[in-house]
Symmetry: C2
Amino acid sequence: MMLKTHACGTLSKAQVGQTVSLNGWVQRRRDLGGVLFIDLRDRTGIIQIVFNPDFSGDALAIADRARNEYVLAVRGTVVERDAETVNANLATGEIEVRVTEIEIMNAAKTPPFPIEDGVEVDESLRLKYRYLDLRRPEMQKTLMLRSKAAKVFRDFLDGEGFIDVETPILTKSTPEGARDYLVPSRVHPGEFFALPQSPQIFKQLLMVSGLERYYQIARCFRDEDLRADRQPEFTQVDIETSFLSQDQLLELMEQLVARLFRETNNVDIPTPFQRITYADAMNKYGSDKPDLRFGLEMEDITDIVRQSEVKVFASIAAGGGVVKALNAKGCASWSRKELDDLQPFAARYGGKGLAWVTVKEGEWRGPIVKFFKPEEIAALTEKLGVEEGDLLLFSADKKKVVADVLGNLRLKIGKELGLIDESAFKFAWVVDFPLLGWDEEAKRYVAEHHPFTRPNEDDLHLFESDPGQIRAQAYDLVLNGYEVGGGSMRIFKRDVQEKMFKALGFSLEEAYEKFGFLLDAFDYGTPPHGGIAFGFDRLVMLMSGRTNLRETIAFPKTASATDLLTDAPSEVDISQLQQLHIRTLPKPTKQAEPAAAGAAPTAQS
Amino acid sequence: MMLKTHACGTLSKAQVGQTVSLNGWVQRRRDLGGVLFIDLRDRTGIIQIVFNPDFSGDALAIADRARNEYVLAVRGTVVERDAETVNANLATGEIEVRVTEIEIMNAAKTPPFPIEDGVEVDESLRLKYRYLDLRRPEMQKTLMLRSKAAKVFRDFLDGEGFIDVETPILTKSTPEGARDYLVPSRVHPGEFFALPQSPQIFKQLLMVSGLERYYQIARCFRDEDLRADRQPEFTQVDIETSFLSQDQLLELMEQLVARLFRETNNVDIPTPFQRITYADAMNKYGSDKPDLRFGLEMEDITDIVRQSEVKVFASIAAGGGVVKALNAKGCASWSRKELDDLQPFAARYGGKGLAWVTVKEGEWRGPIVKFFKPEEIAALTEKLGVEEGDLLLFSADKKKVVADVLGNLRLKIGKELGLIDESAFKFAWVVDFPLLGWDEEAKRYVAEHHPFTRPNEDDLHLFESDPGQIRAQAYDLVLNGYEVGGGSMRIFKRDVQEKMFKALGFSLEEAYEKFGFLLDAFDYGTPPHGGIAFGFDRLVMLMSGRTNLRETIAFPKTASATDLLTDAPSEVDISQLQQLHIRTLPKPTKQAEPAAAGAAPTAQS
């Protein structure tokens, strides 16, 4: 075999006059009056190779048999192209290789879609022929970026004294959280392993072990109903530390992220990152993962309209709800249709309606304007910075509904008005999440993060009086409106843990039943500790400018959790099941409705 | 909280006079006349901290409450110890810290075993309290070595242009190989994912994708009956390349291994590694993973004794068997009991007996000596280099049995005679494995490696005449008698693949049934490729001087595939099983006998 001395895309004028051997795939071929031109492709790029009766001898006839995607080995001389044949669109466009020897290493059938970027082809066909899809330069680039990003994570963490520890994939089913994938045991009839939703328990145990700084790029599994940005198996960069304050940890993580983007994307991310409380994020942006690439903040006008003649405002304010407004600058020119379309948009997020005011020719216009008192208009003008050409949008409802409606409206308007700098990477920490949320159905508090999340020291007294107001030492890292990481400081003191269980309505006995060995471990000298996990797939998606997680994973699954390439899952031999002491239930006549989703598989840690 | 400014084990005379804050665990405490000495431990080591009424104030009384494994935060001054109190056994033994402030960060129950190296305690207790076991310095050191080794692998491979690609854990059950772990699908009733035994198929697909150089530190799963050196989940460094010859790949891997040992163990490994054919390894050492730290090679004496009066030798030689001998230098002094014990030893490896000769006072002694002709003695003396004091050991049987008996005897004698340099790392490539082995039961050839292993080009004609003689382009990396890696060049030509399937007795239809999508992929321009996988757990075991894989894994499973810490596997809610469309079979009255093991879970790739 004629093995390569050079990679196709790395050749340049520096090699002119040299004899080189190349291996690669036929991207395309052209026959121009008996001279054969082939674009030869490898993972580094494309080079034009030339077969000419003058210098190629027998090689020309052999090359003539090659079709697209044939694998070739060629030897020849690098020559400079004539000025008029230079191809400025090709990195190697100033040169070509005059071939003297050729070997067809392998033939190829015609691929089901062209091997080139931006190809428009049904995704299921791409997934079935993933090995061809991954030949496309944009896919290879994404996989290389992913590999590079993992390397930078590791280099940084290794340099900071973090120890890479592998935790089990065959582990125990956890009583809370999302749905587990189960693995029947052959050795222990009737028993099952579970695939981990995260290494949470193990990483905390490693802190009990005194390892102090742990990390792992860990595969995690959640058997949830899928969306575009979910996969049954996903990857998180999992981190845990001891003897650090929340501030120390977040600063370290900022350095990590800055290095990641500098070395992978060649982008400087300024540190420290903005920190915004959960309460502020919800109030201003209606979201706990605000897109901060643009302003367009919501304003709370409840106090202004509390006595308003706009009855719906006044009554909602009186009933404990809120009234908020967005000022869509320069949107007074929206058509009646555009304004009407806002109503179903609001309804999609649970809103009962959306009031609007346009400011045209110095005049407020719209159905509710006649009910505003002059002093209300004055107050609103000041609060919202109202100017000629503005469109004011009002939502009045329960706090949560207003946040959803105006938060999503903000994103829509931001996008439509081109307020978003698509090249920007805008990070922020969202901090001071509530520790507990009230579960209306169960009539009890539930942990917003998990039952080991440490409460803010200043709020400990609220366990007695108002648990819902306790702030957690929990934080999310937000990038361009996506949550790309999250974590918390953990409870390490027995008395605080007992208060937490009490607030969750567990007796100590019940807590031991659920978390026994972890609570045992906590009795043997647990250091203060806390950590974070980054959603690696999503980070790579944002870093590579993609909008779908599947584009960042070599062999992803579809929305119905199947692998179209290998045809997994599939039926297995009955003998395999017998060895595992299980049998399948009779097939339902129609596919069972998947039960409601549990926790979202975001990078919570 | 008083968070640390320094790590315990890193303090030295350089910090004398400085105020430092430390966090760590109480290793031990001594009260000497009202002065309290505590050894404070963190992952970097131990420092003595001192509480004295003269300088510690209230801190002394607080410290007095601390017991072993309490977590402390202290602040104090580094001082030089008096000459007579210097502790030469402690890295920090020239200094101590005089404490002025203390905070008990957490209390601890008395641990079930001492937190120190070389502790003699039942392994099951260590596994149940793994979080305490991992506090012991030797365990932390091993985990750190493992992390470092992974880093060096990655640094080298990244530097050589390898791309780290994650392949699926939820994948398809494979028709050949070891037993799969299965995962029932909730979305697709009656269907199952399988956990991968290796990323074999995906790494070959990535070569079809033109990625050219792939690696992954990959978790793999085999549901086999366990031994000391097996785990249900294990880790391999998985590598695949395109457009390299076997020699080029092995040379690259030698550089990798040399760097691994230099940077992790500070040991220089000379390259190139010795290469030994499978045939030679079996002939000389009776093993395909010979321990080359010592000689003591077997000699084939079949031709010498073919006409011997030693009837068993002559008859076995006549029947196509072999007679081989080991010369155990200086072992003529073995007692009769030692010599008698060789018989059951031989029996354990399938031998029917073991003949011996001692050479004492210039005379050959032993039961068979009288049957030797003088010319046989002369020939044996030359062949075996017989000298005064030697013990000659003879095995006669089928080739395989002789190899097993003398191969294991060689290891036993090598160990007992102290021939083995325990500090040495002796690598070799075993090459030219047979492509096919004859399966006596199935009456057909089976792939020794796997059905995609490339045959030696020179042996292709043997497919017609004598398939059992075909050498494979397969190789194992052997270290000190352990297989630590293995791989092969792969078949990439359609005609060779068809010959291989024919030799295995598959029709093309059957082959497609088993390997469909991979064969499809091979039709679209497959480059010449090949790879290797290193058994990471076993490598770390050897690098850290351990003899048990469990010592190298943070959270291992027992020989019955259970996790004593989390108590996995365990029973699950019936509702979970219903969602997965399965039910368990009634429990057998006694535990089902595990079926015979399939392929060994070594790092074959």
